[in-house]
Symmetry: C2
Subunit: 182 residues, 2 copies
DNA sequence: CAAATCATGTAATGTGTTACATGATTCG
DNA sequence: CGAATCATGTAACACATTACATGATTTG
């Protein structure tokens, strides 16, 4: 999917500038784009050309003009249309599994060092997510159902990292046991 | 990471052609690249220029010449070097979660249809993986430890889809219950 | 007889990241 | 007084996918 629908989604809450959107993308890992200017500002231009958003320019002295984008009826229709397109399976890009695939070239100590570091990083990420999602709770959820959906989105992410943590621990245990057997 | 290390990894098992590699990438979801020519053939040229592989050309009548690539000592060293670089966290690109984020714009029926379809797709994918991984077992694992690692890589992937399945079922249940309460 | 397999490669396009550029104002 | 915030944008590059192109041989 392209970033455009995520932008339309945010604008369906309230009008925003590119800069506002950038911050939203940065704080959230659900909206997995890195929050880089290039994509956001380009997408906004295209959404505007397509008539999915309107633009209001606010001049400021000594700062670039703020450009406030508002979603149009057409844009909302486009968003709704996308919402009922068939769900995509998540992309799994898991470079660490690729490393593991050839990790038999490593000594047991080197391998366990990698695993320990992965465990550490997953754990850190999991803790960070919990904090971030506390904060994200005060985003303007409109209905009880929306609040519930957002909570389940959080839960999906947390569960993923919990799963990785359990998996890597099991793997380390397994390797220790095997070694002692041989 | 780039596809180059995955290629070096495969070549560390046995010399192969681009076409062989293409099939490997296609059958496996761990090696998440789509198995498209463009990347593989380009990467092979670069690996060759860098001295990480050697190339043996076998002429065939009425078919393009087979180019058999073999990893060099330098290439193996490069691979080993990469294996001990710090593990990356997996990228999570989960467009369905983005759809859900704005799914309050849908009717309950539309939303449940999307969820049902996602459940279906995850389930199908999970079953397919199980079959594929039966087949992949006869790849040339060299040691007991390597066999164990590959099994845990499989387990990581299966566990992921099991997790998604449990999650989406819980979400559907939750939405049903909420509706009946209001 | 149509489709898959073998085997190479190119072209076009889409998606995504990092770094660069400007420059005033506010906060620690 | 250095760093962060506000606010726009461009340039260069990396990574990925789909489709195009060729053309003989084997399989169902």
């Amino acid at each position: 999917m392209s970033i455009k629908y995520a932008i339309l989604g945010f604008l369906s809450w309230t009008p925003m500038t590119g800069y506002d959107l950038k911050k939203r993308f940065e704080e959230s890992s659900t909206f997995y784009w890195s929050g880089n200017n290039n994509q956001i500002y380009k997408a906004l231009v295209e959404l505007h050309q397509a008539g999915f958003v309107t633009k209001e320019v606010q001049q400021q002295e000594s700062l670039p003009a703020r450009k406030i984008y508002t979603v149009t009826a057409l844009g909302l229709a486009e968003l709704r249309q996308w919402l009922i397109t068939p769900p995509e399976l998540p992309q799994r890009r898991h470079p660490f599994l690729v490393q593991l695939a050839w990790a038999d070239l490593l000594t047991p100590a080197e391998l366990d060092k990698q695993l320990a570091q992965y465990e550490e990083e997953v754990d850190t990420k999991w803790r960070m997510l919990q904090v971030q999602q506390q904060r994200a709770t005060d985003w303007p959820q409109r209905t009880e159902r929306e609040r519930h959906l957002w909570q389940m989105i959080s839960e999906n992410e947390l569960a993923f990292y919990r799963g990785e943590l359990a998996w890597v621990r099991e793997l380390r245990d397994g390797l220790r046991t095997e070694k002692s057997h041989s």
